[in-house]
């Protein structure tokens, strides 16, 4: 009995080999359809997973989205309340699950500012900061923060126009008898409040205000989805109960809305493209399968049981799906890496989970598309050979 079964199995595989090898053209066509489907599936799945994560990082183009401010218990004006510089340490580790958290401390005061070059004099808001208010690395590199040049400052565009300032000019700032000076490293027009401020180094502003080790507020740029940001805010608030941590709602809410739209768009497009790709592949495969009446007729004529014949064709389809899936999905992941680079400038990280999923889906589609063969079970061999059906 086992002997027979062994023999049967050997025969099964032999027929399968012959079925696959019989028509090179057909084999190629089937592999092409399945492989294309698998490639698109893998590429889209990988890109979709990656793009959503990347989007939350992209949103940080908008700058800070969370503030740490002194609690306003007794101090009547916001400007009079300050925080200890040590809160900055609580923002560390400068990472959350979605990426790098950037923080920037500011100390505000109003000082009498005189330009040594243009001899102009005005009262201006001075906002001392660590990173000199540079929102991005590009700018930071330009003012060269690596060198301990604490004399550099950024001047808002409106201040520069009113006081006729140019890059390289020296400014003196006087507040309550303390005098400090700085050299203009950059003039920036951003459309925000900074346009009418002067941003020197934090130490300079602290000496000027005679508030050593104090800051007015911390601006934090937290990447992530709105849930991740909320969680970060909650954690931070617990660690610094004496200060107030609050989201800049203009950005957190706007971003959340846009994120849900874009990710909905991506999911829907990818989902529908995948579904219809599967249908396309199935239609193409079914077309090929129906042409095999002759094979089925012959097998039945020489005594093949319907079940065995169907099983044979299903095995063939599964094998083809596996081969097409393995090749196609690998190509698709390579494709998505390239696409990620084209869109976001950073190669999409290949997700290992995507590969088996894409291969599995392809095998499934291949088997499903072989199912119309079941109808061939009702074929009468004789009529096939007479060329009737």
């Amino acid at each position: 009995m086992t002997e027979l079964r062994k023999l049967n199995r050997a025969m099964f595989w032999r027929i399968l080999r012959r079925l696959l090898g019989a028509n090179r053209g057909r084999l190629f066509v089937m592999l092409l359809a399945l492989g294309a489907g698998a490639a698109v599936t893998a590429a889209l799945l990988n890109l979709q997973v990656d793009a959503k994560r990347r989007l939350t990082t992209e949103f940080r183009m908008f700058g800070p989205n969370v503030l740490i401010m002194p609690r306003q218990g007794d101090a009547s004006a916001i400007s009079e309340a300050t925080l200890d510089e040590s809160v900055l340490k609580e923002v560390t580790p400068f990472r959350n699950e979605a990426g790098i958290v950037r923080a920037n401390a500011y100390l505000y005061l109003i000082a009498d500012v005189t330009s040594i070059t243009s001899r102009e004099h005005q009262r201006v808001v001075v906002a001392g900061t660590h990173a000199l208010g540079a929102d991005n690395l590009e700018e930071a590199a330009r003012i060269d923060l690596q060198t301990p040049d604490k004399q550099a400052c950024i001047v808002g565009g409106k201040v520069a126009v009113q006081m006729h300032l140019q890059v390289g000019d020296r400014l003196t700032m006087i507040n309550a008898g303390v005098q400090e000076s700085c050299r203009i490293a950059l003039i920036r027009l951003s459309g925000g409040a900074e346009d009418s401020e002067i941003l020197p180094h934090l130490d300079v502003a602290q000496r000027l205000a005679d508030l050593m080790g104090r800051i007015s507020l911390v601006q934090i740029s937290v990447p992530g989805t709105s849930q991740q940001i909320d969680r970060y805010i909650g954690d931070l608030q617990k660690r610094i109960p004496h200060a107030e941590v609050r989201p800049i709602r203009q950005f957190t809410e706007g971003e959340a809305k846009i994120y849900s739209r874009i990710s909905g768009l991506l999911t829907a497009t990818v989902g529908i493209v995948l579904l219809l790709t599967a249908l396309c592949v199935m239609a193409a495969m079914t077309n090929v399968a129906i042409e095999r009446k002759m094979d089925v007729g012959l097998m039945k004529a020489i005594g093949g049981a319907t079940r065995r014949v169907v099983r044979l064709f299903l095995a063939e389809a599964a094998l083809l799906g596996l081969a097409g899936g393995l090749i196609g999905a690998a190509l698709g992941i390579l494709l998505s890496i390239g696409l990620g680079k084209a869109v976001f400038g950073v190669a999409a990280r290949p997700r290992l989970i995507v590969y088996p999923v894409a291969v599995g889906l392809t095998v499934l589609v291949a088997i499903l598309s072989a199912f119309p063969l079941r109808r061939l079970a009702s074929i009468r061999p004789a009529s096939v050979f007479r060329g009737e059906a």
């Binding site: 890109l47 009113q162 459309g191 709602r249 529908i272």
Partner: protein, 436 residues
């Protein structure tokens, strides 16, 4: 004879043709849906990005530097310049007036505010220094060329949440920031008395219609109608800041060129493209004496993200079209491969390779047009459903997509059958007919 052969081929193998047609229709349906969505997505997303608020700020050119810390202006009262409110309708006459989705003028008045609610027999009234932000909530602006445009802070600052109702335009009403309300135990329906700081003028009583929460400096302020703020400050018909929210095209390398260095042709092209810098220039032309600044933080992030998302969608579209093309090509290739016997017979009866190829190509093309047409209709429906689900608005079907899809269908079926056809043309009829 030719048509009879084609008709016969369709009539003889209806199921086969139906399946090839179905593959085609499905593939082209994906292509149509993806194309329609990708073509439409830029405009839709640009609208979504307006939930980030204004992207342009208009201030008087002659203004002194604001000494603003934490939303409190430390300038002496009456310092600085103002702009006339009467000019504002002109905003809707610029070249890109349809792209201006909203604007709101702002006049901030430092005030002394107290609420009768905080005063009891035992405790004296608690007086607070705060700011009254005068603006429009929902204002009807009469446009010079007829019609009205409804705009205000509701449009430019969509993240402002009002618990209760916005104040009525010109009414003695206001909404108070949540922090201010908490400190003074104010609720909707209470009244709050305000008077300009540093003057002895009689206080104005404003009815609180709602509690405002913004997550910004407005949480500590009172927001009221612009006209009330103007009366309090003695600046009839004037404002100090104007926020404009405009739909823009993401800036590209061309947009970043300095308009002053452009040739007249380039300048025209730049001026007639809704770049934010072009809209800013048009606004400053309409409102003399103003300084129009782009709020970089909002505008630049928006531009980059829009560009990336659009590119991503185009790639998805391309992938969808590629997959559809391959599947359709494979299907038409299969249909030619299976017909070797027929081809052999035709050749045996004296048909040249050209005639056979022409016949098969005509069949495939006919299938492509029918399948492509059905696919287009399918895709349009799909794009509608998608658009409605995601953006609440369906993309308009365009003729361009139709031609692209039909062209693609024809190209793909022809290419798909070209390779097997070439092989078929080399077929020797005799062995095929013998069944070898």
């Amino acid at each position: 004879m030719f048509f009879r052969l084609v008709a016969d081929s369709f009539g003889r193998r209806p199921r086969h043709k139906l399946l090839t047609g179905a593959a085609l229709a499905l593939g082209m349906g994906v292509a149509t849906a993806a194309l329609s969505v990708a073509l439409d997505v830029g405009d839709r997303l640009a609208k979504e990005f307006r939930s980030l608020g204004a992207n342009l700020l208009v201030t008087p050119k002659a203004d002194s530097l604001p000494l603003e810390i934490g939303g409190v202006d430390y300038r002496p009262v009456n310092a600085g310049a103002y702009l006339p409110e009467a000019d504002l309708p002109k905003l809707k006459t610029i070249f890109w007036h349809n792209n201006i989705v909203g604007f709101a003028p702002i006049l901030e008045v430092p005030v002394q505010a107290w609420s009768p609610a905080s005063q009891t027999v035992l405790t004296p009234k608690v007086s607070n220094e705060t700011t009254l932000i005068g603006t429009w909530a929902r204002h009807n602006v009469a446009i010079p060329d007829g019609g009205t445009f409804v705009t205000g802070a509701e449009r430019t600052n969509p993240w402002w949440q009002v618990d209760g109702q916005w104040f009525g335009e010109g009414a003695l009403e206001c909404i108070v920031g949540q922090n201010f309300a908490r400190k003074n135990h104010l609720h909707a329906g209470d009244t709050v008395n305000v008077s300009q700081r540093g003057t002895t003028a009689a206080a104005t009583a404003l009815k609180v219609t709602g509690i405002l929460s913004t997550g910004g400096v407005e949480d500590d302020a009172i927001v009221g109608p612009l006209s009330i703020a103007q009366t309090l400050a003695g600046k009839k018909g004037e404002y100090r800041k104007l926020y404009v929210s405009a739909l823009t095209k993401p800036e590209d390398a061309f947009a970043r060129k300095d308009p002053k260095t452009m040739t007249p042709v380039e300048f025209d092209r730049w001026y007639c493209t809704p770049y934010i810098s072009a809209i800013a220039l048009q606004i400053s032309e309409e409102l003399p004496g103003t300084d129009v600044r782009v709020i970089r933080r909002v505008a630049e992030g928006e531009g980059q993200i829009l560009t990336h998302v659009q590119m991503l969608l185009w790639l998805v579209t391309l992938a969808a079209m590629l997959a559809a093309a391959l599947a359709v090509g494979a299907s038409s290739a299969a249909s030619v491969i299976e017909r070797q016997v027929e081809i052999g017979l035709m050749k045996a009866l004296g048909a040249g390779s050209g005639t056979v190829g022409f016949l098969l190509a005509a069949e495939q093309l006919l299938l492509a047009f029918v399948g492509g047409g059905v696919g287009y209709a399918l895709g349009i429906i799909l794009a509608r459903v998608l658009g409605e689900k995601i953006f609440g608005a369906a993309p308009e079907p365009t003729l361009l997509v139709f031609f692209v899809v039909i062209g693609l269908a024809a190209l793909v079926t022809l290419l798909g059958s070209a390779i097997p056809l070439r092989r078929a043309s080399r077929i020797e009829p005799a062995p095929i007919l013998r069944g070898e």
